[in-house]
Symmetry: C2
Subunit: 374 residues, 2 copies
DNA sequence: TTGTAGGCGTTATCAG
DNA sequence: CTGATAACGCCTACAA
């Protein structure tokens, strides 16, 4: 996976106040008047240097005499030259585009990731191409291969859950395009090692805080609605909650342990079963906010009050967490920050297979959690 | 705004089972074995034709003899040649990227638009570059200009509210890049005409249905929480609701007419004021779902029940509409369909300044609306 | 219908 | 440090 460092994106040089000979000044005025898109040739002839020298300036080559550089930069600023990414890309065999690839149904999550990536991309001359995909489609891998190869992406960001997909990681290894994965930390499961830089979220930390929180509120009969077990995040979150409960002498009630799949409907179904049992829980932990919202519906549908009759906790701190009533106690991940860091790491070109930056999750206490009545 | 039609994106030819001479077959096998990215030159030499002929096949030029075309396509399929968008773009002076430009805080809306656009782009060889922006930033216009000019976008899709921005429309007119705007129909307001193709949503139709709906439920004391008046959509929606009420002999109670700005917090504030009045409304119309969710919070905060004590209606049918309890009666816009159509229209190249495709909104009745008690 | 020469705007090579 | 010349992969113009 040895990779040449990405070419440095273009950055606008500051205009200097250097003086030009009268003739050159006129030539520049002429040029500006024509209002045509400037090319490297225009800069070269106006600056009386070769294209290659201009190219060197553009790419911050150290082997340019300072005054030559200044002169070129002056012209560039004056005529408003911007190198064409297409032409540069053709020569570099690499575009000035980052690809964001995902198969994630959570709109808020995706948009936050996009925003974070764009935060870091802004002003760099790079742009973001989004590529949702369907990991269950027959051409899943081929579709992505084509996307990356055709666009000759400068970098790729993979979001969960496909960032865990073996087939995809193999593809990335083959493609020789810088990649970074965003993923939930897979603590102690013994998967084969992954040779890709990653931004990992420590889902456990915040979940454990959730366990503490429930203990502090006096809850003893605690239910759990699991996430989709196909995703590492589901295991991580569960492990986190269990750890938090265990260190307080508590546990998930074995008879109140429901499967789920991260969907709103699964949340309704699971919570309905839980709340209809003879000895219902005083608190329900849902593996994400969507299912927590489902639990609200189940509770309200049964005429229960939140948090008086049942405490509910979620995970994600998605928009929905504050929209449902009462606002949901949940665990927040710094999504946008993660995306920023992922993008910056990718841009820096200084990452290795070992690169792994961890972000901590944390509990946000809101109105859905209350004192246990029993 | 005269524009040359966009070059047709590349589409994969079907592999045929044509027979090759032994030597050519070998050459192909050799090529495939080398596993290097194929170029137009490879195809040309293997097919024993000139690059230009291959180019014609790629671009579906009619002036290629059918059997020549087949032969070239056969080679293309066999060696897996895909034309390089960068090189094509350089020659065409136009990239194979569509830009989606917006300044919209609604994640669901944005993602739906992206999905719709990508639905239509899929398999076309075009990709989508997303470009959120800040219409209040100093460099708002320049930022977008640079984005479009540098990437030489093949097309641009503008979403509301910036699709209404005069400065931006002037820029687009100047830039000579195909654009399509997505916007709320501005019925009878006498703005200067807009010279850009547009996909318009008829927000009124569904809102009027909302008025009918409230009338049918016997509501008479009806409150309104307005959207941000800076957006045409706010006026359109209001006009729609008013029309629906009026044709049933009803109106928005003059003393229950609250300003708003589409934000959740504004919804809470306005609804709180409304519900605390001496003679509160039996129904509240909110200009979007976020504010409707805010109204839920206000109602619940005051110990009221929905819909027993107050009926609430929103607009958008955003995710949140089904997550809050009870599910919200709201007006749905076919966002994704609109994005698909916008994209297809842009791809077809057959649009004019006059192009204007209207999508109807419609009422979705859910649990938040009930019979008026008074 | 097909091919040749040249160009799109940039960078790589390798001399000076 | 700088520059001429040849790519990069494809398309347009003009010929044949």
């Amino acid at each position: 996976m040895a990779r040449s460092p990405a070419p440095k994106p273009f950055s606008q040089p500051l205009a200097s106040s250097r003086e030009f000979g009268r003739d050159i000044g006129d030539a520049i005025e002429d040029f500006i008047r024509r209002r045509k898109k400037a090319t490297i040739n225009d800069v070269a002839s106006l600056a009386r240097v070769s294209k290659k020298t201009v190219s060197r300036v553009i790419n911050n080559s150290p082997s340019v005499r300072p005054d030559t550089r200044d002169q070129v930069n002056e012209i560039i600023a004056r005529i408003g030259f911007r190198p064409d990414p297409q032409a540069r890309g053709l020569a570099f065999r690499r575009s000035f585009l980052f690809g964001l690839i995902y198969d994630n149904p959570n709109a808020t999550y995706v948009v936050n990731m996009q925003m974070g990536a764009l935060d870091s991309l802004r002003g760099s001359g790079l742009d973001l191409v989004v590529h949702p995909c369907d990991r269950h489609a027959d051409n899943f891998i081929e579709d992505i291969r084509e996307f990356i190869e055709m666009q000759r992406l400068a970098g790729v960001i993979l979001l969960p859950p496909i960032a865990e997909d073996r087939r995809l990681l193999e593809l990335m290894e083959e493609l020789d395009t810088p990649v970074i994965r965003v993923t939930a930390r897979s603590g102690d499961r013994n998967d084969p090692p992954i040779h890709t830089a990653q931004i990992v979220s420590n889902d456990r930390a915040g979940c454990a805080e959730g366990g503490d929180h429930l203990a502090a509120l006096g809850h003893k009969r605690i239910a759990f609605i699991n996430g989709n077990p196909a995703y590492p995040s589901a295991h991580e979150r569960r492990a986190g909650f269990e750890e938090g409960l265990r260190r307080n002498g508590l546990e998930i009630a074995p008879d109140l342990d429901e499967p789920g799949d991260y969907s709103f409907d699964a949340g309704i179904a699971a919570a309905t079963r839980l709340l209809k049992t003879a000895n219902p829980p005083t608190a329900i932990i849902a593996c994400n906010d969507q299912m927590a919202a489902g639990a609200y519906h189940a509770a309200y549908g049964l005429g229960l009050k939140i948090p008086e009759d049942v405490t509910i906790i979620g995970f994600d701190d998605a928009d929905v967490a504050t929209r449902i009533y009462p606002p949901l106690t949940t665990v927040r991940l710094p999504i946008r920050d993660m995306a920023r860091t992922a993008t910056e790491t990718l841009m820096s070109g200084e990452m290795t297979e070992q690169t792994s930056i961890v972000f901590q999750s944390k509990l946000i206490v809101r109105g859905s959690s209350g004192q246990a009545k029993r």
